[in-house]
Symmetry: C2
Subunit: 393 residues, 2 copies
């Protein structure tokens, strides 16, 4: 029983890619400052800042928020939220709870990762591997990529999903990414390039995984009461549903390899909160860290029947202005994946779509958008549903 | 405007100290399992678990919750909350917001740190230093202890606080700790031992700092509605106030060295939420990582006038059944300090006092208790106020 409403009133994002020049705190501050400007509030209105970060917060400075806030010349408190590579969405959900609690009326959420700080070879790969089961998978020699290869094979075997269908996922996302000014890769890649690439963990080829990078993304959340009292705010996108769910960490402990139980469970709750059905969603940002990730997502979120995901992508049903536009931002694949920032970047893309501010990525007709952010191979999934923009006055 | 109430219905804690035998996940699971048993609910009732951890969650397994829940044979989702050495209280506050949001009715909070995992010399000291300003303090050669020495000197200079008064803090806490079965050190230490100890950062002697260790502590929180529907629950301790506040990270950026602005601010909000005054508090667990920490706390929380803290301790006003009983558990000093677990251990001590279950540590008369958990030298402070136990039926 949710008694209050929560709205996104501003967004800010940095370029995604390699950024050796500035500190994690400064990078996060850039996104936060832009979000504050975009929301048309004074920075002193922010009561607390929720920082989503997998690893930047463990690097030299505890509670990375301290750095971010100092760089932003803000004295408000902060807390870091970590949920593997779903840390961004996790921070968003916690801030959402803060607003609904009635204790806070204006909160900032900042996703940040500065992975170029980790210059030693293999460190980031080691960090990524912390999102799989250390005891049962990592210590036995598995990696995130080798486990996604298992998920890919299972889907190919059970549903005759083809390599061509899988390759269409990054092909589409790179095409979308061309129009995203903050994306790490703004160029198309041909399907042949994917198909002819050397395999790194069969059937996953070397161009298939999304690439990690530096980046930060921030949103400002506010209550209805706060918005009514701050007349300069000219955009409010309601958060209609926000939920998360978990599954066993290790693949071999799960009931199925061809669906993500956590995605299905979190989505069911989010749809119920929003009181809508999957077919009401016009645009979604999903966790395409590997091609199979997007295919599992569009099935488990209920956009297509189980096993039909590959065909849906092949037939263009997930292209911009298709049956449901998936990853208009370019997704993790083309936008780049700064872990903690990714979940917030997804929310910003949907917010811009709902505001009609997505430029060449804008879809023609929109009522509802959804985000799906996944930890590891699906041990945790966060799902958020945003609705039509309501402009005051 | 807080519309719903939140209650502590169960507690669980492990022994604090060195524990090389079991993993962080297993240790956290022990505390969680005991809290579930203590609350008389089925474990399936828990909708989500909030893990407070400074560093154990960064060690090999992202979102340490995954390990804890697997060991507990639970499939509920989890999120890790990090706020330096105030991570335990931070996780508690986030779970509290979750309950007030109306979305959750039964949540677990687990504080965990397994510092004996970090066997390399200097690693834990390095972790501790991450709670001070990396750029302006750590890189210049400061440590947490050297900065607390500055805070101690400032108080001695301005208020004539003496080394004898300072030493009475750990003397009292070690005396209290004798009666705490989970404490790392259950023995008294004479005041002479403190006074004659070699100085490690003048005026701080070698026995003054609290020691880090392994440990886990858990509480179960529930809404009024949930409690009404679960007849086996026989104890509910209401959370009357919960707040946090921040200050500049570096000491030289602060306005004062003789008070913690973050403590004063967080306490003011918590007292307002609870609608009580400092003099209503009968027992408090405060962050005595160094003796000056406890003296600053009892002043900044409003128990004694600024500058009177040293005298209050000397005169026994903070002893068990004094004007206000401080750190009846033994505090960080005698109980030991497993960073993320400390904030929850403080809450458990106050809960046991309110339940009348504190054994030899029990104070004679109690209406309200308070906890104060600090990050670093006071950049962040969390304050919680708990009230009289209400037994159902």
């Amino acid at each position: 029983m949710v008694k209050r409403n929560a709205f996104i009133i501003g967004t800010g994002i940095t370029g995604f890619g390699e950024n050796y020049e500035i500190s994690a705190g400064k990078l996060a501050s850039q996104a936060l400052t832009r979000a504050i400007e975009n929301s048309k509030i004074t920075k002193e209105s922010i009561q607390s800042t929720f920082i989503g970060s997998l690893v930047s917060g463990s690097n030299s400075q505890a509670s990375i928020g301290a750095n971010c806030l100092r760089e932003s010349n803000l004295k408000t408190p902060y807390v870091r939220i970590e949920a593997g590579n779903a840390s961004g969405a996790a921070a968003f959900h916690q801030a959402y709870l803060g607003l609904l609690s009635g204790i806070y009326d204006c909160l900032a959420v900042v996703g940040i990762e500065k992975l170029s700080d980790f210059v030693n070879v293999g460190i980031v790969e080691r960090i990524l591997s912390s999102t799989i089961d250390y005891q049962w998978e990592f210590e036995m020699g598995a990696t995130l990529t080798s486990l996604y290869a298992i998920l890919t094979k299972a889907h190919m075997r059970e549903f005759k999903t083809t390599l061509e269908q899988l390759a269409k996922v990054p092909v589409k996302n790179h095409k979308n990414g061309v129009n995203n000014p903050i994306a790490q890769f703004r160029k198309e890649i041909s399907i042949d390039r994917f198909l002819k690439a050397k395999r790194i963990a069969d059937p996953i080829g070397k161009f298939d995984p999304a690439t990690y990078c530096d980046g930060s993304a921030a949103v400002i959340l506010a209550s209805e009461e706060f918005i009514l009292q701050n007349k300069d705010i000219n955009s409010k996108v309601p958060i209609l549903g926000s939920s998360y769910a978990s599954d066993n960490l290790a693949l071999h402990h799960r009931d199925s390899l061809t669906e993500l139980y956590a995605t299905k469970t979190a989505a069911a709750t989010a749809y119920k909160m929003a009181n809508i059905k999957p077919e009401n969603i016009n645009v979604a940002e999903v966790h395409d860290s590997y091609p199979i990730g997007e295919i599992l997502a569009i099935e488990d979120l209920g956009f297509f029947e189980k096993g039909e995901g590959g065909r849906a992508v092949e037939e263009g049903l997930t292209d911009q202005n298709g049956q449901v536009s998936i990853n208009t931002s370019g997704g993790l694949k083309a936008r780049g994946d700064p872990f903690g920032a990714t979940g917030i970047a997804q929310i910003i893309e949907i917010t811009e779509q709902l505001r009609g501010e997505a430029g060449k990525r804008q879809i023609d007709s929109i009522n509802y958008g959804l985000t799906q952010n996944v930890m590891g191979t699906g041990a945790l999934t966060y799902v958020n549903i945003l609705g039509e923009e309501e402009v005051k006055k």
